[in-house]
């Protein structure tokens, strides 16, 4: 391609960061020194253009090393990958974790989202900024939910360099957060993942069975705790047999959409177009959700095994694990697990001697809630802006790289292991008729023991809150996160099943259960939710791009108003909300009004 480059040159560090990912350039046309051979013969074309999907990893490489992405660095990366600089710029500016303007090497992300806000995030933030002062070498950025709600308020420090260093401070104090930012290497170790599982060690657990019991770094320990029996069973059953088991188990997607997993697998497996891909959606970004993080940190091999089974069943040989950029510990654990699995023949060629080949590549997100939308995630992996595609065609037909793709959430995939080990009938016996199996709930907010809870489908909201030790003065419970809905304290008998929440006019979503007591000002909470959607809208379609702005503006106007004084704006909100729900391209816009609507209608937020 005849790309245009400016005069900016990369620094040695920037060049080294890119070369560390891509290897040294092969010709002067890619950025090496000019040679006689280059001036007689140049290769390019399809092969050169086909490396677009390395753009996001390349941007990470630069950002990790330098802390921001300069013109020279971007140009060099584009030259290496045959990507137009304007498009790369469009991609770089799409993600919140990247900066195309100079900034300090250390960025401290302080969560100001729902659970953390209720736990005093704004005071924390102000305190940190005051303590650090100007010229501290740390950039403090207010962040959407970091997925550390059980330890709110939370902060994540990222210090660019070789290698990049990270430190989590949660629950954060001003002192701890500043320490994490200024010396991430000497920050105290994060508590073990099992600390987020109050039920840890309970033998009745299915999905969380190993969390806290196994050494998450040891493949052998994983196998000693029953690891890889499910994959062996899968090979016995054959791909069709696996799909039958998964279908019979009644498993539906745990990411929020509740689509039957077996049907999705069957649809992908039967596509004549090849190759097929398996994608694990680990871009857990719904405010209040942190179950996938705990699974990946506490039992990483389980996800590797589950993805292998999904790939085997659907005829895929390549899997992508799209991991939230804000999950450094999960990244480390999974990278280690993949390396171990490859070394021991559980990945790559001839897995378990069965002649089946499969490998997994981790792709890091970079701060974009929208990339949890399945097709936006594909675009993100492919090196484009993480904008959702219009459906149909559906991913099972045209997904990643335009090929048949099965995409599942982490929790969904991990459910496949017990399905195969205990058999579909036994699995389906858990839960209710229409919501089978165990379910993870992310409980946070006004409770004594926040964390991940595993309950069979069918337990009531009240039972769950009791288990978590709900505090007095409960005002509202948010189910399903920012895209979910509020319920009242007198609705705690809602059964936590897909059909039960639907009948109650609310949603289970991704399993968020966030409790708020009456000290939390509801209008402020709604404003934070509206801010979140306005920030996270990709901007592609009008209803969402402008609608989320108008929603936030209206909520701003009525933050101190009630009754008749708020009525006009509430009417306006309803009209805009209805159009967002009806006419937005993807789930983000379609649900951006859900929580606000439920707060108005169910909680009487402005009465």
């Amino acid at each position: 391609m005849d790309l245009h480059f400016g005069d900016s040159k990369p620094t040695d560090d920037e060049r080294a960061a890119v070369d560390a990912l891509l290897g040294p350039p092969e010709s002067s046309w890619e950025g090496a020194d000019r040679s006689d051979a280059d001036l007689r013969w140049a290769r390019g074309g399809r092969e050169a253009r086909d490396r677009r999907d390395l753009l996001l990893p390349g941007l990470h490489a630069i950002n990790d090393r330098i802390g921001w992405i300069s013109e020279g660095a971007l140009d060099y990366l584009c030259r290496r990958l045959t990507v137009p600089p304007s498009e790369a710029y469009g991609v770089a500016t799409f993600y919140a974790m990247f900066s195309v303007k100079p900034r300090p090497a250390t960025v401290l992300h302080v969560c100001t989202d729902l659970a953390c806000a209720a736990a005093g995030a704004s005071e924390l933030c102000a305190g940190i900024e005051a303590r650090l002062g100007l010229g501290s070498g740390v950039s403090v950025e207010r962040s959407p939910c970091l997925g550390l709600c059980e330890r709110a308020p939370a902060a994540l420090a990222i210090k660019a360099g070789d290698p990049v260093r990270t430190a989590v401070s949660a629950p954060a104090t001003v002192h701890d957060a500043v320490l994490a930012a200024s010396a991430p290497d000497s920050a105290p170790e994060e508590p073990a993942a099992a600390m987020a599982v109050p039920q840890a060690g309970d033998p009745s657990l299915v999905l969380l069975r190993r969390v806290g019991l196994v050494d998450p770094s040891s493949l052998d320990d994983y196998r000693a705790h029953g690891g890889y029996t499910a994959l062996r069973r899968a090979f016995e059953l054959g791909p069709a047999g696996v799909i039958r088991e998964v279908t019979d188990s009644g498993l539906v997607g745990r990411g929020g959409a509740a689509f039957p997993t077996g049907r999705k697998w069957q649809a992908t497996a039967s596509q004549p177009d090849h190759p097929h891909y398996v994608v694990c959606n680990a871009d857990e970004s719904e405010p209040g959700t942190f179950k996938d993080r705990v699974l990946m940190e506490g039992d990483p091999y389980a996800l590797v095994e589950a993805m292998t089974i999904a790939a085997y069943a659907t005829g895929a040989h390549k899997g992508y694990l799209y991991l939230r950029g804000e999950y450094p510990r999960a990244l480390g654990r999974l990278e280690h697990a993949l390396a171990q699995a490859r070394a021991r023949g559980f990945l790559r060629d001839d897995i378990l001697g069965q002649g089946y080949a499969f490998d997994i590549e981790i792709r890091r997100g970079a701060g974009a809630y929208i990339c949890g939308e399945e097709t936006a995630l594909f675009n993100s992996i492919e090196g484009y802006r993480g904008e959702p595609r219009s459906k149909p065609p559906f991913p099972v037909e045209k997904g990643l790289f335009g090929k048949p793709t099965v995409e599942n959430n982490v929790e969904t995939l991990v459910n496949v292991l017990p399905i195969l080990t205990m058999g579909a009938p036994a699995y389906a016996a858990i839960g209710t008729d229409r919501s089978t199996g165990p379910k993870l709930f992310c409980v946070s907010g006004s409770v004594e023991r926040p964390g991940i809870y595993e309950l069979p489908f069918g337990a009531t909201l009240g039972e769950l809150l009791e288990l978590a030790g709900v505090r007095d003065g409960l005002r509202a419970v948010l189910l399903g996160g920012a895209a979910g809905g509020f319920v009242r304290p007198d609705e705690l008998d809602i059964p936590l099943t897909f059909e039960g929440t639907r009948e109650a006019g609310t949603t289970l979503g991704s399993g968020v259960v966030m409790a708020f007591d009456d000290t939390v000002p509801l209008p402020r909470l709604l404003l934070r939710i509206a801010e979140f959607f306005r920030d996270e809208s990709c901007g592609q379609c009008v209803p969402c791009r402008v609608g989320t702005v108008r929603q936030e503006e209206a909520l701003h106007r009525i933050v101190q108003r009630t009754g008749a004084a708020a009525a006009d704006d509430i009417a306006l909100l309803r009209e805009v909300g209805r159009a967002m729900r009806d006419a937005s391209i993807c789930g983000l816009g379609q649900t951006a009004w859900n929580a606000v609507e439920s707060a108005i209608d169910r909680l009487g937020a402005y009465e």
Partner: protein, 286 residues
């Protein structure tokens, strides 16, 4: 040897629009079928030379069984589909989309939009005087064309025309996110530092006048732009031997704008810098 491909005959499929049975060829969009049936559906981001982007959502219709409304510009017609184009639900979304756009973007040079605002009884003012707008200043960084992003509805058509669908220059992209997303060259530099080759194929597809010939921009500023006084004559470019068809827009015997027919087999509506802007020599009259 291969023979001349005649094209595989396309199957016909039947469905209903507003209760009336219609037949269309497989692969047609709902919008194609609606237009053939004489239904008037507003569109903004749809372009006859571009793949549907369905970003503006003003063309949504109701399809039986679909949870949400459906963009008619991109959704392929399917046998047995029941399409309703004029329901209260569809009209409501169109109205809101028009209000959201008109309250944030300068639509003063967007064809048809004033009529739709009236037809759908849209009231963009109701978001109040403080409603956020784009607030962009026109960017005049070259003598050929102006980018007035205060008029940009972010339809992506210029990006697609500059990118892999036609020009493959990739001078522009969407940068940023959400309401702050803007069309920009890399590093938001002036056009003159970019990959732009001034083919003007972005102007050709811009539905709002955000991109315009500098001649048009200047004449509008001076109050002399008058489309009713213009003639449009299609001729052939006088530069290389490719034979691109040019439509010369002439006002007071001066060429003020050049376009190309979108259905032309040579150009498909595209030109290069010489064809689009290289006309001045004929009117160097003194």
């Amino acid at each position: 040897m291969t023979v001349v491909p005649l094209g595989i005959p396309r199957r016909l499929l039947e469905f209903t629009i507003d209760g009336e049975p219609v037949r269309t060829t497989e692969g047609s969009t709902i919008l194609d079928a609606c237009r053939a049936a004489g239904k008037d559906i507003p569109t903004l981001c749809e372009g006859d030379t571009l793949r549907p982007k369905n970003a503006c959502r003003v063309c949504v219709v109701e399809v039986e069984g679909s949870r949400t409304l459906v963009p008619s510009c991109s959704r392929k017609a399917e046998a047995g589909m029941e399409v309703k184009t004029d329901t209260e639900r569809a009209r409501h979304s169109r109205k809101i989309v028009l209000e959201l756009l008109a309250s944030s973007v300068d639509l003063s040079t967007t064809p048809h939009v004033a009529g739709w605002i009236k037809e759908y009884e849209a009231k963009p003012d109701r978001f109040g005087p403080d409603a956020a707008r784009l607030n962009e200043e026109p960017r005049i960084d070259n003598e050929l064309y102006v980018r007035d992003y205060d008029k940009c509805i972010l339809c992506y058509k210029c990006v697609d025309a500059c990118g892999d669908q036609w020009q493959n220059s990739f001078a522009i992209s969407v940068a940023g996110r959400g309401f702050d997303a803007r069309i920009a060259v890399e590093h938001d530099a002036p056009l003159t530092d970019s990959a732009c080759v001034y083919c003007g194929n972005c102007i050709e597809v811009c539905p709002t006048g955000a991109l315009s010939f500098k001649s048009e921009f200047d004449m509008r500023a001076a109050g002399t732009w008058d489309e009713s006084a213009q003639t449009e004559t299609t001729t052939v470019c006088a530069y290389c031997g490719v034979g691109c068809n040019l439509t010369l827009h002439v006002q007071d015997n001066e060429i003020v704008k050049v376009t190309s027919p979108h259905d032309n087999p040579v150009t498909h509506g595209n030109l290069c810098i010489k064809g689009r802007f290289g006309y001045q020599h004929v009117q160097n009259r003194d």
